[in-house]
Symmetry: C2
Subunit: 272 residues, 2 copies
């Protein structure tokens, strides 16, 4: 099902600035147990992202009603809901007087299935050659300019490799192509800062909150390749996969550790 | 007029990767004197850009036929033709097996009108706060990830300011939001390298060629703000505007110099 500005429709104008310039933002939300998970957090990030890009999105009530319609129509127990908001249609050129109605798109997708051992025994990762540009203004925002992730994800097609790790141009570890990354060292949790590159994931924020509440020290900081290599545990997370322990990055092996397992359980139990 | 994959149509699927991720490239071509200007150069850049992004675009003959149709249908003497090629429709996720047909879009737009003095007396520029990220893999390519230009262009709405200058994160001058930039110093021509940030413009390449053929020394190199401030002449160029002399950047004034005027004439006379 696809709703565009409330109408059953799966086509947008070629003059939509989302297509012309990637001028918009999106959210990927897991639908499980009869509801969209972490909906409040996703919507908050969506609205904040629009503000950060000066997209004049006022149709928040309409979006919520449409989201309810989409959920009602869902037949599957599990699904993925994607919300996209663009700056709307515009004439040629980068300038926008923001008089256009932003385009809001809600689409539902089948929930991907992953091998069961991903959650239990962990996944295999690789390092991507494609880097993430440093841009303080755009960092953190889940906007539609995603060519770097596209190029990084298309560096491999080996189905045994679940995710690729991306560094910024200063060679610091930032995140996976579709996930955020955490490491555990001496019983403390660390995750890369995403104020210069990367995306401030909704589940990333949940993990930080859950760890803090449980008395686990969490630091957002620069993570070097050396720190990653020396980590006791590594995991990646996003809204669809939850938390995947990392069992290996290239040839370096990691155990599925206690803190990772603890946070997996804690995450699975929240927002229920 | 809009043709999508050869059909009269101005809507694309919401699942088009151009909309989802800005996963595509575009060309903006001036239609003047009964033909698209620098068509060969634009097409060459388009096809090269597809190759650089591994977009499997084989419909080059179809594109040419459709372009001919579009030109035949044009009523105006002057127009702008935009060609967009995306990686095509895809399922959710950054990975693409490139089995989808790339989407090719040809659209015609009215030619913008600018005050006559722009060409003769020059234009007023400003410096943009929004920077261009450094990314060697994507630099030069006219791809659809253009949020930086959108944010930069929307920093001002004073109609007297014709263009904004963007620097990279190392504070070097790269280009305008929609144009390339040249400076003249001691009768030599300089333009920023676009191998780490920026777009390798078709008219930029023409200017370099015309200058070289006329015995004017041209260097592509790093241009600092200091070098720009000390320049004898400054101009910006793109396919639609041709060459605009720069009369002022913020409060710093520049004369409309001989080399700028010479290149304006040379550019106006080529591809006729």
């Amino acid at each position: 099902m696809v709703l565009i500005n409330g109408k059953n429709n799966d086509k947008v104008s070629v003059f939509d600035r989302g297509l012309q310039y990637g001028d918009g933002v999106f959210e990927t939300i897991a639908y499980r147990n009869g509801k969209p998970e972490f909906l409040e957090q996703h919507l908050e990030r969506l609205f904040t992202s629009c503000d950060l890009l000066s997209i004049n999105f006022k149709q928040q009530d309409e979006l919520l009603s449409e989201l309810a319609l989409v959920c009602e129509a869902l037949q599957q127990e599990q699904a993925v809901i994607k919300i996209t908001v663009t700056r709307g249609e515009g004439s040629r050129g980068y300038f926008s007087d923001n008089s256009a109605l932003p385009t809001r798109i809600i689409s539902t997708h089948s929930h991907p299935t992953f091998p069961e051992y991903y959650q239990k025994d962990g996944v295999l990762l690789r390092f991507c050659e494609q880097t993430l540009s440093i841009n303080s203004r755009l960092a953190g925002i889940k906007h539609l300019n995603r060519l770097e992730q596209v190029l990084a994800r298309n560096e491999w097609d080996d189905p045994d490799i679940a995710e690729g790790i991306m560094s910024d141009d200063d060679d610091n570890i930032i995140e996976g192509t579709m996930s955020n990354l955490f490491i555990v060292a001496s019983d403390k949790l660390y995750t890369p800062v995403v104020t210069r590159a990367g995306i401030a994931g909704v589940v990333r924020a949940q993990v930080i909150q859950l760890a803090t509440r449980s008395g686990i020290s969490v630091q957002e900081q620069i993570i070097t390749k050396k720190a990653l290599a020396e980590a006791d545990e590594v995991f990646v997370c996003n809204s669809v996969i939850g938390i995947w322990p990392v069992s290996a990055i290239s040839n370096k092996l990691y155990p599925v550790g206690f803190i990772t397992q603890f946070l997996q359980k804690a995450l699975a139990e929240c927002d229920k």
